[in-house]
């Protein structure tokens, strides 16, 4: 296990909903360049942690740091990508009614054409920029083996390709940290390998850090190192696949006491 600098750090993070403690004193550190897995039984607060990191929920208490800089509390979800954090969702969220190509084109931040007036008064500038992004998008689609699907509606893609599309969208912005929520959900087994390969490739080639939440143990064991185990909103243990599988506490937590 190569030890690099910490990229994301959760310090004493708490989150209550009414009387329920969804996250309790979570202290988590994510090392740069890893593919960290986050597992735990239902209701362990995995997705809540994602929502806390990205600012969808306000913290009840505690702090979150990204690259040593305070991320939460304070930042809104739309600022994440500007800080080079990308997040995917549990249920694949693709924009079903626009095309695959456009699903990629929407990702870059601060496009000229995002300002309404540029579309009336600076059309040529918008077009020029758009052409540049199109080229990049086609390259990415090539990398994902989805070139022929560029003009297909995203809603018509099979589950696995939707995951790939999500990766593609992420590649458009080349973030430093990616929060992947259940990359295995709804993906046929054949496709899963492809998704995993792409994730690993991106991790190695572009040095992107991944934080992965997953239900499917096979996926996690195969993909992630290290793996964090979360129970009742608290970090239970941390280790590589083998260690986790043999940890009694983990087995207990999953089977119930």
């Amino acid at each position: 296990m190569k030890k690099l600098s910490t990229i994301l750090e959760l310090v004493n993070v708490n989150k209550h909903f009414g009387g329920i403690h969804a996250v309790q004193d979570a202290n988590i550190e994510i090392e740069k360049g890893t593919i960290t897995g986050l597992i735990g039984p239902n209701g362990a607060g995995k997705t809540t942690i994602f929502n806390l990191i990205t600012g969808f929920y306000p913290l009840s208490s505690g702090e979150i740091f990204f690259k040593g800089e305070k991320l939460q509390p304070g930042n809104a979800p739309h600022q994440m990508l500007r800080k080079n954090i990308y997040r995917s969702f549990q249920i694949t969220r693709d924009l079903a009614k626009i095309t695959v190509l456009e699903n990629l084109l929407i990702a870059p931040v601060n496009q000229l054409g995002e300002n309404i007036f540029n579309n009336w008064f600076n059309k040529s500038g918008v077009r020029k920029e758009e052409d540049g992004y199109k080229e990049k998008a086609m390259e990415i689609l090539g990398f994902l083996d989805m070139e022929d699907k560029a003009d297909e509606y995203a809603g018509n893609l099979p589950g696995g390709e939707r995951k790939l599309l999500e990766l593609g969208r992420m590649m458009m912005v080349e973030p430093e940290l990616v929060l992947l929520d259940e990359p295995g959900a709804g993906v046929p087994p054949g496709m899963q390998k492809k998704v995993n390969d792409r994730v690993r490739e991106l991790n190695e080639e572009k040095n992107i850090t991944f934080l992965v939440v997953e239900h499917d143990m096979a996926v996690i064991m195969n993909l992630c190192d290290p793996i964090l185990v979360l129970v009742n909103g608290t970090k239970l243990t941390e280790g590589n696949a083998e260690e986790i599988q043999n940890d009694e506490r983990v087995i207990k937590a999953y089977l119930g006491e």
Partner: protein
Amino acid sequence: MIAYIAALLCMGSVYAIITLGYNLQWGYTGLFNLSVFGLAAAGGYTSVILTGATAGGRLGGYGLPFIIGLVGAAMVSGLLGGLIGMATLHLEFGFFAISTLGLGMTIQIILKNEQWLSNGVWGIGGIHKPLSGFVGNDLSNWVYGILAFLIMLLIFYLLERVVKSPWGRIQMAIKEDEKLTEMLGKKVFSYRFQSLVLGSMIIGIGGAMFAHYQGYINPMSYTDIMMCFLPLLMVVAGGSGNNKGSIVGAFVIWGAWSVSEMVAGYLPISSAKIPHIRTLVVGIVIISLLRWRPTGIIGREQAVSSTAKNKDIIAS
């Protein structure tokens, strides 16, 4: 007959303008705004107050040219749209709908009660159509219809410029998935706000065009059924998120609405019952279409992209 076609052209174009504005809000951004009638009324009254020649004791009588009236209508409706947005945009779908409906009603109630502003229940009459002095009455409907159609086309062109662009793409994305769009670094509130204001400005222009066509307006000229539900139906009929569809939807629905009444007149039923039977049929038609033709009455939902291969979306 020919004159009636001119009338259909006028009303069709007026509704097409309102529908284009509404389509931006609902069809692209997914804002279920139910204050359309209030915004249209605000536009109509603004234009009438600015362009009217006389005003007995109320605000207005500035006698400004028609085009200034339209610009003023767009400004005031846009401003009101912005205020409505600030008050309600943070709410969820249904809550937003109810709140905007209430704000639309508030605009209507103010227009009804504040005599110094809108002449209250008496309404404002003697509104002139532009150019009607030059061409006489027979032609004025045609002139106005063509003018309205041209204004509608201009709005259509300007809208197409922005919706088929990264800006429009973001609006589509917001309609589909607000959270994802937020995650992609787009400030959803700001884009919704822009869509609401721009749409409101267009609706205001539509309301002003309506006022100048009617010749007389009072607060009841802009009712929720005629000025909010009907445009909504037009948007859905034309396929939400489809500007061309909206225009077709506006003309077809208005034509059907207007003509159906004449057809009903030939049924062998007591004339007092006919209007109710007509609304009954309209209701049944709406329900049946949604039940058996859920893909839209005329068009399907269309993407921003013109390059899309397969026009049918399999997934929901």
